[in-house]
């Protein structure tokens, strides 16, 4: 077996035989994915539930709008009582040709929406009754807008975060622990080159990142969460790998500076956690204040997030590769270069 293969294998075994590492690599990010995924599952697609009394074309048509859910009541008084209790925003009653709408005065926005829908339906039905030809044609179709369904940004965000965390911690802790336990020194006494050690650690990090990505995307794509990958998702792959390398380089830098595992864990958290919050992992960054968006542009995680999301869910073309790939590659080279400069085989 070559030194490269056996070192990779040794690192891989050290990784998967450690339960705590496995937890933080796979389960911990998944917990966030599942919690956020379930929490925001219906956000933005919530239907408004209103009360309905009686039967008729208006009530039927309202039920078919796809915007309103109808809760049926036997009498108007009963339904109005629900409105005044604040349980329902409005109630519609149809008795023959008479249509009654009562709404709660507290929520003007929702009341306006409901009122608009009901008026629209009533007008349309009135128009049909008159048998007049339509003069104005309304062409309606939906546009894929920048503000995505929550699962569409939660999944790539948490995937990037999970992968970044694992890359930083893996690189930093291997370096620190091997230096502390003098494994590095022992390796240095063997006739192999430092690049063999480095490349085997890179390969293990990338391998683990791929497994993470498959698991996170697979869970996100479950029907209960409903992640959908769009046509250009494959273009996210180079961004993904460059992101892993950028965070690997950060891990090497942390590992070069820190003397103990505890210090490395703290430093890695200080680097990754604020970045995660400011880079759109847990909420879409375009909802953040402008100053925060500007700051986040300095973070590799922001570009990894954006780059991956562009292809995974926004269906961008290949030209969108340029910025994230350049930023992440630049980060890898600069940070990796500094790490190589300050790297020490053993504690002085």
């Amino acid at each position: 077996m070559t030194a490269f293969r056996s070192l990779s294998l040794a690192m891989l075994k050290g990784f998967y035989r450690d339960k705590a590492t496995l937890f933080f690599t796979f389960v911990f990010p998944l917990m966030f994915l599942i919690v956020f995924g379930l929490l925001f599952r219906d956000a933005g697609t919530d239907k408004i539930t209103i009360g309905a009394v009686g039967e008729g074309p208006v009530v039927t048509a309202l039920g078919e709008t796809g915007i309103l859910d109808l809760e049926h009541f036997d009498t108007l008084d009963e339904a109005v009582a629900k409105v005044s209790d604040g349980d329902l925003p409005a109630v519609v009653a149809q008795n023959g040709n008479e249509v009654v709408l009562r709404f709660a005065a507290s929520d003007q926005t929702q009341a306006g929406t409901v009122r608009g829908i009901v008026v629209g339906v009533v007008d349309k039905l009135n128009l049909i009754v008159t048998n007049q030809p339509l003069r104005y044609q309304l062409d309606v179709s939906n546009v894929e807008d920048a503000s995505l369904k929550p699962i569409q940004y939660i999944t790539p965000g948490i995937m990037s975060w999970g992968v970044a965390t694992t890359a930083v911690f893996g690189a930093a802790l291997t370096l620190v622990s091997w230096r502390k336990k003098q494994v590095l020194r022992r390796i240095r006494l063997a006739p192999i080159h430092a690049s063999t050690v480095l490349s085997s650690r890179v390969v293990v990090t990338i391998g683990v990142a791929i497994v993470q990505a498959v698991i996170f995307l697979g869970i996100g794509a479950l029907p209960v969460f409903g992640l959908q990958l769009v046509g250009t998702w494959a273009l996210a792959i180079p961004v993904f790998f460059l992101g892993v390398l950028a965070f690997f380089a950060i891990g090497m830098l942390v590992g070069a500076f820190c003397k103990t595992e505890e210090a490395a864990t703290g430093a890695a958290n200080i680097v990754v956690l604020p970045m995660a919050f400011l880079s759109g992992t847990f909420f879409p960054i375009d909802q953040a204040p402008p100053w925060m968006q500007s700051i986040s542009n300095a973070f590799p995680l922001r570009h990894m997030n954006d780059g991956i999301m562009d292809f995974l869910v926004r269906d961008q073309g290949a030209s969108a590769l340029v910025v994230p790939c350049l930023v992440l590659a630049g980060f890898t080279i600069v940070v990796g270069g500094i790490a190589a400069k300050v790297f020490q085989w053993e504690d002085s």
Partner: protein, 308 residues
């Protein structure tokens, strides 16, 4: 450019006047020594004597401030890749890969040298860990870990083996087990350079020892020669009551006689004469003979008790 040492074989290690200072601390202060191929050489001294730094300079892990080192005829500093397969180094703290079993550790180290993994089993046999092959390193006892780390240093069949305090922090039984391992290594024709702070152990194992203190070598020779050179008296100890103090004082070559609650101690420089006289009198019950040890040599050299 091999130097002849003691007229036997080639020199595996030749060190000339190496010095290494850390700030004001002179860790190694002018050490010269040479080790012959196949020799079991011990560097002895209390903690902080400079043993480890000396060893690290010879191994090529540190650069001396001055002086020269030839290891198998080559300079080990800067890192010389061609030399590395020929030396085996066991480090002071057992350096292992996390979560790997004993056999996996050996296989990994073997692969670093491009050595076939089947050597792992052979090494496990050698150090008596065959039944622990599939035990993780962190589940091994202290003695087993030490033996494993020695096996790791030997897995690529090096010519010169460096062991840094292999017996430190082991219980007496484990120490003796390890001695057998070390003797087995020497029997394979390896040159062994090892450090210890157990003087008694070095006396038993080593062909030659260097006694170090405060960065300097105070004495270097075969252990028996060092002790003999000391001209220290032998203590003959008898059971209390087997001989009176006055009778003891009258024995040939008896220099001094002391008595305590348990025993009678006769100090002599010609123990053969004293002992045969005792045998004639049939007064040998509870006999103990304590000759001078390396500890006495250390005391004589430094003027203070040996503290490990």
């Amino acid at each position: 450019m091999f130097t002849q040492v003691n007229g036997t074989g080639n020199a595996a290690v030749v060190v000339e006047d190496i010095r290494k200072a850390y700030g004001d601390l002179k860790a190694v202060d002018g050490v010269s020594l040479s080790v012959t191929e196949g020799e079991f050489f011990g560097i002895l001294g209390p903690n902080g004597a400079g043993k480890t730094t000396t060893l690290e300079i010879i191994e090529g892990l540190r650069q001396p401030d001055s002086g020269s080192v030839r290891l198998l005829g080559e300079s080990p500093w800067p890192r010389r890749v061609s030399l590395l397969p020929r030396i085996g180094v066991q480090l002071q703290s057992s350096s292992f890969f996390e979560k790997l079993t004993a056999r996996e550790q050996l296989e990994t180290f073997a692969s670093l040298y491009g050595v076939n993994a089947v050597r792992a089993n052979e090494m496990l046999e050698l150090v008596g860990l065959a039944d622990k092959a599939d035990t993780r390193e962190d589940k091994l006892s202290g003695g087993q870990r030490q033996r494993l780390s020695i096996a790791c240093a030997l897995v690529h069949d090096p010519d010169v083996v460096f062991l840094d305090e292999p017996t430190a922090a082991l219980d007496p039984q484990a120490r003796r087990n390890l001695w057998d391992v070390l003797r087995a290594i020497q029997a394979r024709g390896k040159t062994i350079v090892y450090t210890t702070h157990y003087l008694d152990e070095a006396e038993i194992l080593c062909d030659r020892v260097a006694i170090m203190d405060k960065g300097r070598i105070l004495a270097m020779d075969r252990p028996a020669a060092l002790v003999r050179g000391l001209d220290a008296p032998t203590h003959v100890i008898l059971e209390l009551g087997s001989l009176s103090v006055s009778d003891a004082t009258a024995l040939p070559a008896a220099e001094d006689v002391t008595e305590d609650e348990l025993s009678l101690t006769i100090t002599t420089r010609r123990p053969a004469d004293t002992l045969s006289a005792l045998a004639d009198r049939g007064a040998l019950s509870g006999l103990q003979v304590r000759t001078a040890t390396l500890e006495d040599v250390f005391l004589d050299l430094t003027g203070r008790e040996y503290r490990a």
